[in-house]
Every structure is written in structure tokens, then in C-alpha cells.
Symmetry: C2
Subunit: 224 residues, 2 copies
DNA sequence: TTTGAAATGTATCAAATGTTACAAACAGTG
DNA sequence: CACTGTTTGTAACATTTGATACATTTCAAA
């Protein structure tokens, strides 16, 4: 049995009232499945032809590398939808193996039924489009970030992005260690490069605050 | 005036007959705008509240860096849709400035009208969902690829991906130069690393064919 | 076959970054 | 205050890659 009060908090059904959701679900076919802890929910490579939403409990996603070993990717819990980017698109297979990390109840909506749902209710349609679009935007941003090769460029991009048009002083909310991880570099390398940039008069650092002294030169770095 | 024969070749209207498309467009509001060469079509930062489809001619997308200089991003021509990932999602602004590189006719469909279209016709809905999902998958793949740091890892990942479970010999359809570009490294560096891997007995190369000799060690490389 | 352009293999050197290690500065706690 | 763990600055050295140059091979057109 579905629980509309929970499902309507899912990003896909956000804004729908529980009653309305109940009514919508009456118009489509779907399944509610229970899993016990450690049960497999999807297997990597399996065709993804239905939308899965966690109604209760939590799951983990793991990926198999080429030798068959598993690497943990992500944890998710109710009321989150699974693999929204793989229901449509060219590659219709789950990229990950999902298994229950607690007792779990999943709502499973076959793709054609979900399409029906999208056409019945424009809010759901908008929500779903927003979900995958936001994901695409997020990935695009991340990709742009990785496209900067040198550490200097990454720092410059990060600071200019944060600073925007106006401010010159940027509050860095992360430790150097976290920042380095985000940049995909080691902590000492980041510190060294920051140090060099200070010496060259590009920036000033004070603990968590970084002041941009020469915006023009910083921009220059990103051209390369 | 829209030209259904052209528009139905757009990824969004693929599979729709020209007549059907004509009929669908009768049910919504839209605009057809003409631009002359070098006219601005969208400006980076502008709110993206309508779907734009090139009906005639070609455009270029440019991005402003922080200092205001422009960098060319992409060329597109009829019948391609613009910025499909930015019509929905959190960030509803064009990331790029688009200008005409020839005389151009654009079809402009306001977002609410496009949503109507999606609800009227499930093929269009599927097409659009496929478009953005495929894009998300593409970005995701690319990101995964970039997550491998060393050239050895990139080669290993590429080869194991291509080889799958079965084959040991991989046909490389690209030249070293193209491959290097795809990996984001220089051509001599790629050749050097390939050479090293041959010497270590990991692979054998014969022109465009690469034979994987030691899958276990290749996998090892990806663990890091 | 000859020829020339493109693709490939290889070498050398410089630059960027990783690795490791350690010291100094800071923040919280008893 | 003294103590302790975390964050930050810095150094020495190793590794990886980029840049550049040039020789060799391949392949297709004349």
C-alpha cells in the first residue's frame, strides 16, 4: 500500500497533496515491494524500465568495477527516487547495484505508467523535468570545474565564481583539506600554490578569508 | 510561419509527422522570429523561459569569462533546440550568449506552452525526456572518465570499457591524436605511456588494435 | 613505383604536482 | 594555564606530464 503522505515529500511529487496523489495513483498501475535488509533491489546492467521510489528505509548504491569488486557510490533513503537519469535516455540500464541497508519498501512504477502520470499532472511533469535538468546542470558545472588543468586555474575559477562582480574578499567555508579534495589535488600542493599566489601579489590570505588583489591577472589565468 | 517538415527532424519532434506537428502547433502559442547574421539571439544570464528551436540557418554559442571576453563554445544549426537543459532546473538562465552566424529563423515556444505540448503528445514528452537524460548520462560518463588521474588509468578504463567481459583485443577507431585529445593529454605523452605498458607486458599494440594481456593488473590500476 | 602527407615512436628537458615529513599556528578542553 | 588534536605553512625529493623536436612508418594519390 502506498503512503501518500510520505511520497508527496519526494522531489517528484513535491507540491501534490496526499489526497491528490492517492487519486493519481488510482489511475495507474504500480507495485509496492518489500525488501529485507541486504536484499538486492537492482543489479547493475539490468534494464531500467520502471521508476523506483523509496517509501520506507534506506538503500546503498554500489558499482562493480571490471574485476567484479564493488565500490560504494551513494546512500539514499525515503522518499527518494532511484536512477532518475536512467529511466529515459539512450542507456537504459542501471549503472549501479542497489541493495537495502534496512528493511525497505519500494514503490515501482512501470515507465509507460509513469509517462501517463506525467501527462496527467503538470506539477509532476515539472518536478521530474526539474530533477533531471538540475542534475544535468550540476554535472555540467562540475565538468567545467574539472576542465581547468592547473591548481592556479582552479583556485582562480573558484574565487572569481564566489566573488561575483562585487566583493573582493571571499569567505571560504571549507578547510584547505576539503578544498583540496574538491579540487582533486593534495593539500600541500594547494597550500603551496596559494602561497605562490600570495607572493605574486594576486591574493592575500587570512585564515578562511581570501582577498583578491588583482582580478585582471586572475582572469588571465583562465584563458590559457 | 513554422515549417513542419524541418521541425519534425529536430530531436524533440522526431517521429511526429509534419501534418501532426502542424496540428499540434495550432493548439499552442508560439513565435517565429527572424534574425540577420550577427544578431544576438540570447544573452548569457538572461532568463530562459522559452524553448528555442533553430528552424533555419546556424548560430554560435559563446560564453563570457569573468573579464568580459568571450570564448566560443559551440556551433549549432537547424533544426536543433537550444539550451534544453536550462529550460527547467534550478538555474533558469542561459549560460551562453547565442548569436546568428547566418540569417536565422527561430521558433520560440514559451515554457508553459511547451509543457502543454509535452502533455498533449507522449512522443514529444519521451523525446524531450530522452534528450536531457541522454545529456545527463553523457556528462556523467565524461565526469567518470575525468576522475581517472593518470594516463595509465585513462587507458585502462578506456580499454576495459571497450573490451567488456569477452574480448581481449580492442579495435581503436580513433587515431592516437584524437584519443589523446579525448583523454585531455598530449599525443606524445599518450604514446609514451602506451609504450611503457607494452614493455611491462600489460598490452600489445598493433597499429589500431590493442590486445589486453593482463586484465587483472589493468583492473589494479583503476583502484588507486 | 615514387612521393608526400599524416600517423606514430622516441628522446630531451622543463614545469607541475604528488609524497612525505615536520614545524608552527590555532582551537577547544580540563 | 597546560595539553591535545586539528589545521596550516613549508621544505626536499620523486613522479608524471607537457613541450618540442625529429626519425620512422604507413598509406594513399600521382
Amino acid at each position: 500500500m502506498i503512503q501518500p503522505e510520505i511520497l508527496c515529500q519526494s522531489p517528484i511529487f513535491r507540491g501534490i497533496s496526499p489526497d491528490e496523489l492517492q487519486e493519481l495513483f488510482r489511475q495507474i498501475h504500480y507495485q509496492v515491494k518489500s525488501y529485507q535488509k541486504n536484499d538486492l533491489i537492482t543489479i547493475a546492467g539490468e534494464v531500467c524500465d520502471r521508476l523506483l521510489i523509496i517509501q520506507e528505509g534506506s538503500v546503498k548504491a554500489e558499482m562493480n568495477d571490471y574485476s567484479g569488486k564493488t565500490i560504494k557510490i551513494e546512500d539514499m533513503s525515503a522518499p527518494w527516487p532511484l536512477a532518475t537519469a536512467f529511466l529515459f535516455g539512450k542507456e537504459n540500464r542501471f549503472p549501479v547495484t542497489v541493495s537495502a541497508t534496512s528493511d525497505v519498501v519500494m514503490v515501482s512504477i512501470p515507465k509507460p505508467e509513469f509517462v501517463k502520470l506525467l501527462q496527467l499532472n503538470s506539477l509532476i511533469l515539472n518536478n521530474y523535468l526539474n530533477t533531471i535538468s538540475t542534475r544535468a546542470q550540476f554535472l555540467s558545472q562540475k565538468l567545467k570545474f574539472l576542465s581547468f588543468k592547473t591548481i592556479r586555474q582552479k583556485i582562480a575559477h573558484y574565487l572569481l565564481e564566489k566573488a561575483g562582480e562585487r566583493l573582493q574578499t571571499v569567505e571560504v567555508p571549507q578547510s584547505q583539506k576539503q578544498l583540496a579534495e574538491m579540487f582533486g589535488v593534495t593539500r600541500p600542493s594547494l597550500a603551496r600554490t596559494l602561497g605562490e599566489m600570495v607572493q605574486e601579489g594576486l591574493i592575500e590570505t587570512q585564515r578562511r578569508a581570501i582577498k583578491i588583489l588583482d582580478k585582471a591577472k586572475m582572469n588571465q589565468l583562465l584563458k590559457g
